[in-house]
């Protein structure tokens, strides 16, 4: 009938309009990198973001404001505490950025065990809000599981990724110092920021006291200390997470998105919740994705030769769960039984601080969006502990400000004059510990709870175990000892406990490995069961090390994108 052929023509046309060479799910740190690399290799790319659009500079509405222009002077209201209970579990709640966090009422999750999940559902994801600390992993980290006989071996080694670290550091702009430490390889750095006078002194004393085996170095941070094309160097305002109108730190918006856009190959679609990856049984490949338009509730399909899944560690697992077929009822990539398992994080919320006497005639200028870093020393070389793996510290020294106490002077003109001058020096540090992968630490789809769009939500069932808890005692003990050795007085220690996820370094739910029977992804980040789907965010991690992981996601993503382009050319995927 004539009508039939008309329908067919329309469908063909619609399908063509919805077809790209690559689809990238997510626009955060790793999604931005995937889009940039694939676009620059000449592929037409559709980037899907579940939240709103969020434009560089124009949408950083609070960034130019003076502090007194904030109605609540930077803090949050009772109303916000009610609406964002998870964000209020820690320091993430602030007047300037509340709109950047995911709406907790619309997007719930459930906690079999306490789990803190800080999500940002808007263009750029958490690349706007992130802490920007950027450290390479070393071979010690990539070999750790094998040497310990714990979980499974990484399918890659440092040599597989070293070149990609060079590549992403050069483009993203990482400032840092060259230290020659085997556990923390040097990279292609912009000039380091300064340690301040007290930090330098403490570094020297720690080095001496611990025979050159412990190091306090300036943080390696994705803030520019020299301009890059289209970006101005960091202006030391320390308001990064509101968005930087100078492009002074790495975000999707400041860095990878403009590069991808410049190719003319990128299409961005906000308000696009990817509900599933469409698996084609005949070709045994993914043919595209189904999305739900978050604004209109309409469903659409988009098609591509290759799919990059970069929805963030837990949400990437969610997309895979939700892409279940009759072949794999547990989800795409579930054949190993490891999908959603081995959830990791960096455990923290513990450390120490104290006062440094003297240096009353020394001060500093500028607000450094960075601090010092003490790289791992435990269980390294000759050092042996009664637990596995290690930890690092981040901290800073500064003079106390107007919020300090002044003895015997708490009201009136003298009090006011006293607290408008800088107070004594304080120095403090927070530990970040490695978490082992445990099969039983898992996430799954909650059978009972749905989100605003009627989609199933994640149920979290993960906790720290004996190894981490032992390590925590050591983290506190060691920092106290180092500060004491450096002459710091009045030392307070704290361990406020750690709910999984609170480190905002979720990892491991679709781990890489050498064997499809025990891992979700192969050594190139391809889903074993569906080779044209690549997962390159935190989900892919086989162990957690103790260094901040985002730089490694960038490097793995760039590596995987180049692999995908080559495989497409060869017709292998």
């Amino acid at each position: 009938m004539p009508g039939d052929s008309l329908d067919v023509n329309l469908n063909t046309k619609a399908k063509k309009q919805n077809t790209y060479q690559a689809i990238v799910i997510g626009s955060g740190i790793s999604g931005g990198w995937a889009a940039k690399e694939l676009c620059e290799k000449g592929l037409s790319v559709l980037m899907l973001e579940r939240g709103r659009n969020f434009e560089h500079i124009k949408d950083y509405k609070t960034a130019p404001l003076d502090p007194w222009e904030f109605k609540y002077r930077g803090k949050t209201t009772s109303e916000q505490r009610k609406n964002y209970p998870v964000i209020h579990r820690g320091w993430a709640a602030a007047e300037a950025v509340m709109d950047y966090w995911a709406n907790e009422k619309d997007c719930p999750y459930t906690e079999e065990k306490p789990f803190t999940w800080w999500r940002s559902y808007q263009m750029g994801g958490r690349s706007i809000l992130w802490g920007r600390q950027s450290y390479r992993w070393s071979n010690i980290d990539f070999e750790a599981n094998l040497k310990d006989g714990w979980a499974i071996d990484w399918p890659i080694r440092y040599n597989d990724i070293a070149h990609w670290y060079d590549y992403v550091e050069s483009f993203a702009g990482i400032s840092g110092s060259l230290e020659g430490l085997p556990q923390l390889p040097d990279g292609k750095f912009l000039p380091p920021m300064d340690l301040n006078i007290v930090e330098k002194e403490v570094a020297a004393r720690i080095k001496k006291k611990f025979n050159g085996n412990r190091h306090l170095i300036i943080g390696r941070v994705a803030n520019l200390t020299a301009p890059l094309p289209g970006r101005t160097q960091c202006q030391f305002r320390n308001r990064c997470w509101e968005g930087c109108m100078f492009g002074g730190y790495f975000s999707t918006q400041s860095s990878t998105l403009p590069a991808a856009m410049a190719t003319g190959n990128l299409t961005v679609r906000p308000f696009s919740i990817v509900t599933k990856i469409l698996y084609d049984k005949e070709t045994r490949k993914a043919k595209g994705v189904e999305i739900l338009d978050a604004a209109t509730n309409q469903t659409y399909e988009y098609y591509a030769d290759v799919v990059f899944l970069n929805a963030s560690a837990l949400n990437s697992a969610w997309v895979l769960f939700n892409s279940a077929t009759d072949i794999w009822p547990g989800g795409l990539g579930s054949s190993s039984g490891e999908l959603g398992h081995n959830v990791m994080d960096h455990h923290y919320n513990l450390g120490a601080s104290g006062t440094m006497e003297g240096y009353e005639d020394r001060y500093y200028y500028g607000r450094r969006a960075n601090g010092f870093y003490i790289p791992r020393f435990a269980n390294l070389f000759e050092d042996k502990r009664d637990y596995r793996r290690g930890f690092g510290y981040q901290g800073a020294a500064s003079r106390q400000n107007w919020s300090r106490d002044v003895a015997e002077m708490n009201i009136g003109a003298n009090f006011k004059e006293a607290i408008t001058e800088p107070g004594p020096w304080k120095i403090g540090a927070t530990g970040f510990g490695e978490t082992l992968p445990y099969h039983e630490n898992n996430i799954s789809l909650d059978p009972n709870v749905k989100d605003k769009w009627g989609l199933p939500v994640l149920r979290m069932d993960a906790e720290l175990k004996e190894n981490e808890l032992k390590m925590r005692k050591d983290i506190v003990r060691e920092i106290k000892e180092m500060l004491e050795a450096a002459g710091v007085k009045n030392i307070d220690t704290w361990d406020n406990g750690h709910a999984m996820g609170h480190g905002i370094h979720e990892m491991g739910t679709a781990r890489m490995g050498r064997d499809p029977k025990s891992s979700v992804l192969n050594g190139n980040n391809q889903v074993w069961d569906c080779l044209n789907v690549y997962v390159t965010d935190g989900a892919c991690m086989t162990s957690s090390a103790c260094q901040n992981p985002s730089l490694t996601y960038m490097a793995l993503t760039a590596r995987a994108a180049h692999h995908a382009v080559n495989e497409l050319k060869k017709g292998n995927i």
Partner: protein, 190 residues
Amino acid sequence: MERRELLKMIALVTGGAVIGGEFFLAGCKNPEKGNGLTFTDDDIAFLDEVAETILPKTGSAGAKEAKVGLFMKVWVNDCYTREDQENFHAGMKKLDEACDKMHGTGFMKASPEQRTSLLVALDKERAEYQKNKQKEDPNHYFQYMKQLTIMGYFTSKEGRTTALRYEPVPGKYIGDLDYKKGDKLFAGLN
């Protein structure tokens, strides 16, 4: 780090967590907004005078000029729990009564010297109470006023630009700088 440190330090000065400002655990109960507790213009004038006594005009602006009374109203209304709101409102009355008891006159009619001696005494009482109180006990009423005075003043335009050195865009970081007594703090967003 800096934010965390700041909260810790604010906590230090007044010997407790920033009321309404931080670390509320999930599921803790929250107030209905307003609830019939309102601030009159007289209340705001009263709070301005309390704040001015804590942070008076010197070479730099005083708390009154920085409109700290109005700031307290906004904060108590929108950021405090119902319980803290009630404590705050009751505290205004208690402060006035304490003044009457000490000086035979209400706070608004007291001389600057009388106001200062009252608040010095109340601050001692506050510090002692906060040190010994159980976690679930209410805060001392002067705790609220002092915290909000300090926070409101140093985040105001007047406080920030006349009492401190405020550089919206420092442009660089220098890790070792000469400092001589009397030089003011550099202040940022916090």
